[in-house]
Symmetry: D5
Subunit: 122 residues, 10 copies
């Protein structure tokens, strides 16, 4: 079951704004309709405020979806909401990319806050 | 025959705006002039309002073009119109990419509404 | 329905042995169990004897599978058998590559005769 | 000799603005200085007004450059001008990409009208 | 728990020898030491005798490893042994490719019988 | 018209056997049935005896096919025969790869003599 | 230990603004928690004022992190701060890309000043 | 020695603004410190005014750097300045990409004038 | 210092011969002449006898080269010798691939025993 | 002028046969006919006897071709002969790959001795 209490933080090491991106290649959950496993990639990007998410705790949080029956859209919005609550970031984006079924593959993008200028104009 | 009545929806799981993209790799229809099969990829992107399109119903809807004689431009605009009518989305884009014939391959892009900021500044 | 009578030949332009390969990127048939469309690529390689297969007739023959419910293995062996009967080639190989379903994609290879030396030692 | 009279049109199937892209991989003309053949790719993108260019006629038009001695820049501007005259489009772009000679390869981009918003912010 | 009783067969459609390859992109099991999930790709190749493995049953069999703590080497040899027992094939090869941990990624190849000539000299 | 008299040679600079490969990316001829242009790549490989083919003359020879209506198979065998007559090589291979028409692309391989050991065991 | 005193500069060769990018493919430091080595790529981009960083000194500076236990975020911000202090540039960006551990790979981007127009609109 | 007098021009074939890009893959000069050869790619992009640079003269100009000891930054700015003086273009950009030494590869971008709208919003 | 005592083994899980490949992407040692770091990839392939190498111990063994001044050839032969002594394998191959210096990159391949048939005829 | 006296050797560190490959990406010489620069990649592979070639001396040797007018075939055979004389290797192969001119790119392969078994059956 998705378990946000697994997430831990550490203090942001600088006051200068910067952007962090963590790409998890090996996300898996279950389709709530058929019980078949879904496989995807979760890309988290954020501009931290006072705290950052600790990397190993993020991995364990993602693994807590392994036996959960949950739709693509709900996975993406749940992660966005849990991490926004944890980090109170200046900006946060969760993009999920799914390997797909039946010849259709999908991508969901959920955002919190305004894209910071250095990222928008990369 | 393209059959929009195959399409089904489900309630959007969150009120926070987000973007959904479904890429169908295996679209096929017929050339209305020659009867030769056309092969392409259909990319649907949208920002939902109150409902989302159900993925399996989308696949069946796409399959209803299999024996239809229809031009590239009409395929793309028909899908845009059918899905806009179904979803009343904040934004919707249909991009079709065709394998081509005679050394020319094509892409058609049809849109409804304004590109949402997070997508435009990815 | 697969229709080998669509196939036409022309006389081999030389007596020196050589190898011909035709790759059809846009093959489609139906799954005999579910009725769902299958999509694949068919690679035909052969060393002609006295006749070669005419390219446009080969395309029409492949298109005759479009509404046929037939398994991967049967598609591949049918094409191998039909073309072997047509061409009486020194060597012939049919390889099919399928986009797959449910996260598994497949390849089937069926052969007639011995691989010619120049091809084996490319 | 480039022959714009080969070009044909058909009525745009919808009043909603959309974008069409045709990529011709196999363009060839001659260098006017040396007579050596040039090889390139022509990408046409446009936002139609009341008519679209018919695809087969576009192919024949491109083939009419086959024996013409003409510079890269002139090829690109000629195609832009001929198609703008034919289509009176809202926006039109011709990009040519050349395989090059003597270790330098080139690209020329010629435009008519303002880039439509959905294309600019893809 | 790996469950070979999920596997089903169907009669080989031809007496002419041929080769079948099924690639499962989305295999997952658990590390028996740490409990961390492993992710990999399983490639099965075989030359059938009188029966072939049914594709959906193969998928369910692979999914039965999802909660199993088992090493790479044991996964590969178990699949080889289960499928050899099921199919009595002329030749069978199981290759597993793992995404890896700690900067090392691995591949295991287990075989039954002699490589058939057409495959060896592809 | 294919013109073998354009070909020139120079003396092989060493008595030690070696292999030469020239890949021409920009070959074009015409389809003898439809008059439509064909585009392809010609790969020439050979093990010289006493003479080698001069590179610029090879280019001009290839260009002499530009306005010729000729099938893929005949192009490949003609080049093999012309160069074998010119060079009396220990081994020679001509592979043509064609961009294709109607969704099928082709490759033809014609050979003279036995593959030299260092090439076969690359 | 990261040692900014290794860095050397030379006078900017022109007063016209321009952008410099140096990509170091072979950066390594240690994880401060586990002592395990981290491997990454450091991309430095800047618009110089009166001085540029000398390339060999930059390499030695990067090598001074080899035995340092330091987090991704701190590496990136330290380099940004050291080079900003050295160069007083008009704009400077440090992007680090890490090979990752446990299936998650990361990217950190830290910036000083406003993106110059020619870079933003490349 | 870099020799701008090698450069020649021809009259721009149209008054409609357009963009030209020439990519030279095979640039080489010498490191002024060590005498070691540097290898790179020079990408020139410009929007012509009344004249364009002739392609063969551009190649000879680039070759005039072959025995010159000169830094990356100076190569890029010299080319920008020489071509700006020659062409008085509306916009001009020189981007150099260097294969690198000691594990660091570099890119330098120098510009003259404002990016034209069609290029910025490609 | 390279430390073979870090290596651990476990009993081979089957008597049927099979092949194991471990690719370490992140190997680093020092050049014995200049002290500059070298970066490479080590690919170990073997056919086990009674024992296999434990993966984590292999990683630690590779890390013991981090501060060692040692040539490419010696790295490769040392690993081959240490692992052959540890495993007494039927066949073992160590291939190292180095990122290179001064525009030359290298590969070293050292082998123990005869290539097993299934690997040679993959 | 090609200068084999620049080449240095060191004693082979082991008596067990192994294979070394050095790939030089940045080779350049001049066309003896036109004076135009040629650019290529030189791949040296060998199985040493008692001595190996020192890497920096190999680089300097390659650089001694920079101002030499010499054909592709002569470059390749010269390097093969110079290194065979220097190393008396069990096996040696020089493969050159040239960027080409006029749409034709070339590869030359010259060998000394028999391919060692582990390399042939990679």
């Amino acid at each position: 079951m998705p378990n946000a209490s697994l997430l831990e933080t550490f203090a942001t090491p600088t006051r200068t704004p910067f952007v962090i991106e963590h790409t998890a290649e090996e996300f898996t959950s279950l389709c709530p309709k058929t019980g078949q496993p879904d496989f995807g990639r979760i890309i988290l990007r954020y501009c931290p405020n006072t705290v950052c998410v600790e990397l190993k705790s993020l991995k364990l949080y993602y693994q807590s979806f392994r036996s959960e029956g949950i739709f693509y859209e709900a996975v993406t919005n749940t992660i966005r909401d849990d991490l926004t609550a944890l980090l109170s970031p200046k900006w946060l984006q969760v993009a999920s990319k799914w390997r797909g079924r039946g010849g259709i593959h999908s991508r969901i993008i959920a955002t919190h806050g305004e894209v910071p200028a250095p990222w928008a104009r990369r």
